[in-house]
Point group: C2
Chain length 212, copies 2
């Protein structure tokens, strides 16, 4: 019996983050692709509250919410740490991961799929969040410092999925002239070998965008 | 020099949660009351992103976001654990703390201070969240099991501040007939001796509500 399973969706940045964490730790797992337009009994049983992916199943016990899953993976399995070791650095990582999840990702996604006044409002909101990140990444290679860390992976939507999506829908937001540090960071992040292997290919992702 | 300081507000459930965690660990700290209508340079310097309380200062280094602060306190100081020890139980505690913070507290607070259609919408949303908690607490004394834990403290707004606020503004929501388990839990929680000592007195809180 495979003791670790991930219920996921190919095109979810949150799922990719969990998969990268498992791979970093060298944990073997079974991946179960979920059809989010026709949710499975398995998903509804194991994440009845949010009905969202990712869900980690460890010996049959379910855990939902990607950051909660990452903390769990870090505590249960040996191997390279997911969160920083120093308590203050851990607190900072948790703070920034929460900021990205709460203030950036969803707003940026919604901005892509809205129009008119609503889009302008969301663009403004997203710009506020990105300005803060632009400031935070200034002078650093990655959010985690010299090496890619949990905050970088949490921001994988901003680095990879968002630019493709924005381009696809014709949204101008995270431009090189306005966010030079963030764009530099995004480029470094997606060109890291491990990250590259764990992000979906662009054409496949665009094919999915065409169905939205 | 006092090494630990809390920038707080007397009437913030998030601040009380942090203070309770410090007291559980036996950590001496200096409390600095913040005037949220006229924010201090100290607050703006140490939490420039959110400009909110609580902020924990440890040897001058600031940490914001109450759950991030709690994890930090638990990692840095000896004493009774704040989060459960078992990784799966910890994951569940993090999941529920996040659920309460994201889906209940703010919506319930906004429902108190809105009117008409907006209030009805918020009431509905809050009811959805409370139903899930009602189900979760069924058959358990506290969210933490037999003993009060981090999820109970995270829900301190629901147990104490909300009923007083709802009564003050004339909002009917968390009634005994609709949420018997939650109301029973709230009563047990606020009558715990340690909790009671760490919540503001009702008259003082109502005096503050009158100024809103």
């Amino acid at each position: 019996m495979v003791e670790v399973k991930v219920i996921g969706s190919w095109s979810s940045p949150f799922v990719r983050k969990v998969e990268m964490a498992l791979k970093m730790k060298g944990v073997e797992y079974e991946y179960i692709e979920e059809d989010l337009r026709n949710k499975s009994a398995l998903l509804l049983q194991h994440n009845p509250i949010h009905e969202k992916v990712p869900v980690l199943l460890h010996n049959g016990k379910p855990i939902a919410e990607s950051m909660v899953i990452l903390e769990y993976i870090d505590e249960v399995w040996e191997g390279p740490p997911i969160l920083p070791q120093d308590p203050y650095d851990r607190a900072m990582a948790r703070f920034w991961a929460k900021f990205i999840d709460d203030k950036c990702t969803f707003t940026m996604w919604k901005a892509c799929w809205s129009t008119g006044e609503e889009r302008e409002k969301l663009k403004e909101e997203a710009t506020e969040g990105l300005k803060i990140l632009e400031n935070e990444i200034e002078g650093k290679k990655f959010f985690g410092g010299d090496k890619i860390g949990v905050v970088d992976h949490t921001a994988n939507f901003i680095a990879y999925w968002f630019p493709i999506t924005a381009d696809f829908v014709g949204l101008e937001l995270m431009t090189d002239d306005k966010f030079p540090n963030l764009c530099r960071w995004a480029n470094d992040y997606i060109n890291d070998n491990f990250v590259k292997e764990n992000l979906p290919d662009k054409d496949g992702y665009i094919a999915i965008l065409k169905t939205i």
